[in-house]
């Protein structure tokens, strides 16, 4: 359906477009900038063009700040972000408003979360048990690995969990981020995979990362992805950087739910009309059935949104729904 998109292109120029331009710019977070999502991004572009009749410009970036500033300043009209990133952008500009997020397997927002973990090596797992239950009491003084200091699931959520557990004061939060203070050493893996590798190789005692990024490499050999205390083992056919780590196992000692990231628009530079059109298009069933955007459950080829079940789709959300993350971030 791209033919219809181009035909209305010129007619819509002066009218309502992005208030300062004809094209709608969509910016993607580094994660979603990945090359393998190129098809998904193109499909998205077509959908938006179809819905609004305007040209769409896709912008990938490798820097979180650039993405956040772009949507906050209104230079981009549309963005797909992480929950934390959204909160930051919303703080910079109230015009940034969420309008859709991925649902849970039931097609509702109830469990529209993914998981972030604190994991340890299997051989050390016992040390983190208290009365047969896993706890993070013992992580103090250990070597810690985060993803990067702008990640939601690989940094923000785990530090919030640790802050809560150890009742760390607000002003001392930075202590969690630097070597030789709370932790004997703090590492940044640069990516979820990198953080996991830090742990499995033994450079870190404790590592934070999420499920979505590690599923291609790890399988749950005891328990499941939804249970604390489960054991995960590197798959035999895992690709780099795990190819030399086959068979190694890790155990999750804590699991924190993270809210799915929202699609947001900048209400100041995207016309009301387009806002409605896009929101409607994104939350439609037709959109959820687009295989280039939603990969089928269990499918080999991953698209931007992997479906847990057939019911998975995008649902309408508001800023209110993100209250938990607001609380986590502190504003």
């Amino acid at each position: 359906g791209c033919a219809s998109g181009t035909s209305t292109n010129s007619s819509s120029k002066g009218s309502s477009a992005g208030k300062d331009g004809k094209a709608i710019t969509v910016v993607f977070y580094p994660n979603e900038s990945a090359k393998s999502f190129a098809t998904s991004r193109d499909a998205l572009k077509k959908s938006i063009e179809k819905a609004t009749g305007k040209t769409v410009k896709l912008q990938t970036t490798t820097d979180y700040n650039v993405a956040i500033q772009a949507i906050a300043s209104g230079k981009a009209q549309l963005a797909y972000m992480g929950a934390n990133g959204y909160i930051q952008a919303h703080k910079l500009s109230k015009d940034v408003v969420p309008f859709a997020a991925q649902s849970d397997g039931e097609g509702t927002l109830k469990k529209a979360t993914y998981n972030s973990y604190l994991m340890v090596q299997q051989k050390d797992a016992d040390k983190y048990q208290e009365n047969g239950k896993y706890s993070i009491k013992n992580v103090k003084g250990k070597k810690m690995s985060y993803v990067s200091n702008s990640s939601t699931s690989g940094f923000l959520v785990p530090t919030a969990e640790i802050t809560r557990e150890f009742s760390i004061k607000d002003g001392d939060k930075d202590k969690l981020t630097q070597s030789g203070q709370f932790f004997s050493k703090v590492l940044y893996g640069g990516s979820h995979q990198g953080s996991a590798v830090n742990l499995i190789k033994g450079d870190a005692d404790v590592a934070a990362f999420d499920d979505a990024d590690l599923m291609p490499y790890l399988k749950a050999t005891k328990g499941s992805w939804d249970k604390v205390g489960s054991t995960f083992t590197v798959k035999d056919d895992a690709e780099a950087p795990f190819n030399s780590l086959k068979g190694k196992s890790v155990v999750n000692i804590a699991m924190m739910p993270v809210q799915q990231g929202p699609w947001v628009f900048n209400t100041k530079t995207l016309s009301k009309d387009d806002q409605t059109k896009i929101a409607k298009e994104f939350t439609s069933q037709e959109f959820a059935d687009n295989e280039q955007i939603f990969s089928k459950p269990g499918s080999k080829k991953t698209s931007m949104f992997p479906k847990k079940t057939e019911k998975t789709k995008l649902l309408k959300v508001t800023d209110k729904w993100y209250a938990p993350t607001h609380k986590l971030v502190g504003y």
């Binding site: 710019t25 910016v27 090359k35 490798t62 230079k75 995979q193 780099a240």
Partner: protein
């Protein structure tokens, strides 16, 4: 003349010709040695206190060998195609060309104001301080600023990178200008020539080889910078593929291939610069 012997008193200071032992150490030599000693001590102290996090050197070098082997002996295009990579490479080269050309033109005019033999001292010092400040701001910050102001894309990358380009070249150019002999400038001044004609007719031709060589060095740096931050501004350059291959897919083979491509560009560039410089020095 008498007045030229005025540096004598301090130059004579190890004046012990009578005594048996004659020292060769002069004051500047002592200062140099002190500076070197201080730097050496700082280095040793800093090396000793470096946190190497109980690194196992044998393992480290082994894994280094394995990685280098994967990168440089088994390069491959990974999941991208040659077409994509080459096109992105061209984009990166274009970014570097744009930032270098823009930088060179802007920098030349500013450099005239920053050269001590042409401009008043306060102006030269002022400009140089501002340039030092600009260079202290990380490139990624410039890119961020301009993607906020102009939107993500190549334009932001170009403008952001050009700032450093200008700041660097102003320093380099103004130092080249300062090296042109005051006498030649004076010769034209003595025949009643104005400021800008002197700049373009006397100074510019004299420093062309130096300008060329600085500009090419800067091109090399701009190219590296374009690769490093172009991707952040969404310029769709080779840096994006490098970032993806390195940070997302951990594909050493593809990183190796991209490094080879970058080296190829660098070598071609070096050959061109050698040719041009040789040509200019010999023939013009």
């Amino acid at each position: 003349m008498i007045e030229n012997s005025q540096p004598n008193p301090n130059a004579l200071q190890p004046s012990a010709p009578k005594s048996k032992h004659i020292s060769l150490v002069t004051k500047p030599r002592k200062i140099l040695r002190t500076v070197l000693a201080v730097l050496a001590i700082i280095s040793i102290y800093s090396l000793a206190t470096l946190n190497s996090s109980n690194l196992n050197l044998a393992d480290a070098f082994h894994s280094l060998g394995v990685n280098l082997n994967a990168m440089f002996l088994h390069p491959s295009v990974g999941q991208d195609s040659w077409g994509q990579l080459l096109q992105a490479l061209v984009t990166s080269v274009s970014l570097a060309l744009l930032t270098t050309l823009l930088g060179a033109v802007v920098a030349f005019f500013i450099a005239v104001g920053a050269a001590r033999n042409l401009a008043p001292s306060w102006l030269a010092t002022g400009i140089k301080a501002v340039m030092a400040f600009i260079r202290a701001i990380p490139t990624i910050l410039w890119v961020l600023i301009y993607s906020v102001v102009m939107g993500i894309g190549a334009s932001a990358a170009v403008v952001g990178l050009t700032f450093h380009s200008v700041a660097y070249l102003v320093k380099a150019y103004s130092e080249s200008i300062e090296e042109t002999s005051q006498d030649t400038i004076e010769a034209l001044k003595a025949s009643g020539v104005g400021f800008w004609p002197i700049v373009f007719q006397a100074i510019l031709p004299s420093i062309v080889p130096a300008l060329l060589s600085w500009t090419f060095i800067r091109f090399e740096i701009n190219f590296a910078n374009a690769v490093a931050v172009g991707a952040a501004a969404g310029a769709d350059d080779i840096g994006y593929f490098l970032f993806m291959a390195g940070n997302f897919y951990f594909n050493f083979h593809e990183v190796g291939l991209i490094v080879y491509l970058l080296l190829g560009v660098a070598i071609v560039l070096e050959l061109i610069s050698m040719k041009l410089r040789g040509h200019y020095l010999k023939h013009n």
